[in-house]
């Protein structure tokens, strides 16, 4: 199957700084694609080039096999990391204004139910909480009935409850067949939502595959943690017996199944740089 979007040797330089260094990947249609990386890894620059907001220094970006053109704006949904909304107008009025920009906007009722906006429809944009604002921005992103939607760190700064609610909204949008491209630095989020993840650092693409395959590739078995010690093992039984045999103090022992966070730290060589 041809990918809905294809990126080849994409590069972005700001003066002497290379923000994105010749990355190439394809995004299959209908999946949730996660772009992971520490802050400053080049995630936002990469997706902004794909959105057509930032011009690449070099490389090609194709949408359904063709270079992106002016009609692309009508087929793409975008949620930026930082956006202010017009002040003194309500959520409903803002949605109505954005609906007027597109030839076939999604019906208001659908937007309201997909993004759970019932309770805030008549509220002034300035008076939205963090979670409400993100729901509103998601609604603006899907107003055009997009074929692909880009969400740049949509849950950063939300409380755990709001994050879980937001994940449900993303699943709902994906269930309608829309391809979702998501950047995040929450590994639990990526593991739960994404069919494929790409891990970036310093502008380069480190790995790209399904979370399971990546974990399988980099880890075998389990991680055994003792205070001050961490062991990776393929044979848990053998390791445990060895620990007992050498008379280690097992107080504080934990056995951990490797997850994306372990992989992330292994690959980027750092804890999350937030």
């Amino acid at each position: 199957m041809t990918p809905i979007m294809n990126v080849t040797d994409l590069e972005k330089k700001y003066g002497r700084l290379t923000a994105v260094d010749k990355v190439s990947f394809g995004i299959p249609e209908g999946i949730c694609f996660g772009l992971l990386g520490p802050n400053g890894a080049g995630k936002t620059t990469t997706i902004e080039m794909m959105e057509g907001i930032t011009d690449p220094t070099a490389g090609t970006i194709e949408f359904r096999g063709k270079p992106i053109d002016s009609t692309f704006r009508q087929k793409v949904g975008i949620q930026f990391q930082h956006t202010a909304l017009p002040e003194f107008i309500t959520v409903k009025e803002t949605l109505e204004m954005f609906s007027a920009f597109y030839p076939n906007p999604r019906p208001m009722a659908e937007l309201i139910s997909l993004c759970s906006l019932d309770d805030i429809l008549e509220r002034d944009n300035q008076k939205l909480s963090g979670g409400q604002k993100q729901r509103m921005l998601l609604a603006l992103a899907i107003v055009p009935n997009p074929e692909i939607v880009f969400l740049d760190e949509p849950t950063t700064g939300l409380d755990p409850q709001a994050r879980r609610n937001f994940w449900d909204l993303i699943r709902g949008i994906k269930a309608q067949g829309t391809t979702v491209v998501l950047t995040t630095h929450y590994m639990d989020e990526a593991q739960l939502l994404c069919d494929q993840v790409a891990i970036m650092d310093h502008g380069r693409m480190l790995e790209i595959d399904t979370p399971d395959k990546l974990l399988h590739k980099h880890f075998n078995g389990a991680i055994v943690r003792l205070p001050g010690r961490e062991l990776q093992t393929e044979n848990l039984d053998k390791t445990m017996k060895e620990l007992l045999a050498e008379g280690s103090d097992l107080t504080g022992l934990s056995i951990h199944k490797p997850d994306l966070e372990d992989l992330f730290i292994k690959l980027t060589g750092s804890t999350l740089r937030s």
């Binding site: 704006r73 956006t83 003194f88 920009f101």
Partner: protein, 333 residues
């Protein structure tokens, strides 16, 4: 078109619901007009002002009277000069070529000026002529200036400053991600602001007229056209400012740097007559000067568009140049 209308509507509602800005744009000019009208209701100028046509005449000693300020005019300004006399802006007009002087029979200094002329008549007495006209009060003269100034602030800050804020906080970036063109978005901002300033100006005009009953000798249509042109020129200037800046403080500072000289030199509160030539020439470069000049000509002298053509042409050309510049310079980010 649907998108355009939606943007005009949203921006206009943003203004109307922002009670603070709305109240300010209505109350500020009224306070200005009333305050200045009270402060300067007495005539603090003790000099006599006489308009002088033609060159000096050694045979007419009156021209040497130290208590009289003689303001030289060229012959082409004769009609404007007579209007000034009719409105009590001058105490007399002297034409050395025609050996004639004019006074206004309703002027409060007429008797003294007459006396001075007869005392200092010299060898060849000048002919005495009379014009008639009720005085233009300071408030009549002030109203067009203050309304125009308010309109200037509304346009420059409402378009220039707001678009810079939109650029800084990401509203422009969000719009860039839609199919809306920069031209259409910016035009919608301009149209919204135009409607707002025209309506607020009309409200301030009518509101102050209720209790000040100022002078309006010209046609309301002409006044509206000149006001519209004034608003266009200011919005266009605001767009030039809005085209690139990303820093609100910088844009705000520069807008102040621009609006203050305009406020002081465009004759909002005081006539620049008699000030150094260089100031008057600088003022000629400001759209506010021409806007106020044309509005005063219509309201106080009953001029039509033909008489105000130089101002109308200046404002049109200024608008066109600024719009072109803004279109050329504009960047979403």
């Amino acid at each position: 078109m649907k998108a355009f209308y939606a943007m005009v509507k949203a921006r206009t509602m943003e203004f109307v619901r922002d009670r603070g800005s709305l109240a300010w744009s209505l109350v500020f000019p009224v306070v200005m007009i009333v305050g200045f009208a009270f402060a300067f209701s007495g005539n603090s100028n003790t000099l006599f002002k006489v308009g002088l046509l033609g060159s000096d005449d050694p045979g007419f000693p009156f021209l040497k009277t130290p208590q009289v300020q003689f303001i030289p005019y060229v012959a082409a300004d004769r009609e404007a000069l007579m209007n000034k006399l009719r409105q009590h802006g001058l105490d007399a007009v002297v034409d050395t070529a025609a050996k004639t002087y004019w006074i206004n029979d309703q002027g409060k200094n007429t008797k003294i000026v007459d006396l001075l002329v007869s005392l200092e008549a010299g060898s060849t007495p000048y002919q005495r002529d009379v014009v008639t006209g009720a005085p233009v009060r300071y408030v009549d003269w002030l109203v067009p200036g203050v309304i125009a100034m308010n309109l200037m602030f509304g346009c420059l800050f409402g378009v220039g400053y707001v678009l810079v804020r939109y650029r800084k906080n990401g509203v422009l970036r969000r719009m860039k991600a839609t199919p809306v063109s920069a031209f259409s978005f910016v035009t919608a901002q301009g149209v919204s602001r135009f409607l707002i300033v025209i309506v607020t100006s009309a409200v301030v005009y009518e509101g102050t007229n209720l209790f000040l009953h100022f002078r309006m000798d010209g046609s309301y249509l002409d006044l509206l056209l000149v006001t519209a042109l004034g608003a266009f020129s200011m919005i266009a200037l605001g767009l030039v400012f809005a085209s690139r800046f990303k820093n609100e403080e910088l844009a705000g500072g520069l807008l102040n740097l621009l609006t203050f000289p305009m406020m002081l030199l465009s004759g909002v509160f005081f006539s620049l007559e008699g000030t150094p030539q260089v100031l008057q020439q600088v003022a000629q470069a400001f759209p506010l000067t021409h806007f106020i000049h044309a509005a005063r000509a219509i309201m106080l002298e009953g001029s039509g568009l033909v008489q105000t053509a130089p101002d109308v042409l200046f404002l049109s050309a200024f608008t066109a140049v600024c719009l072109g510049l803004a279109a050329w310079l504009f960047k979403w980010e």
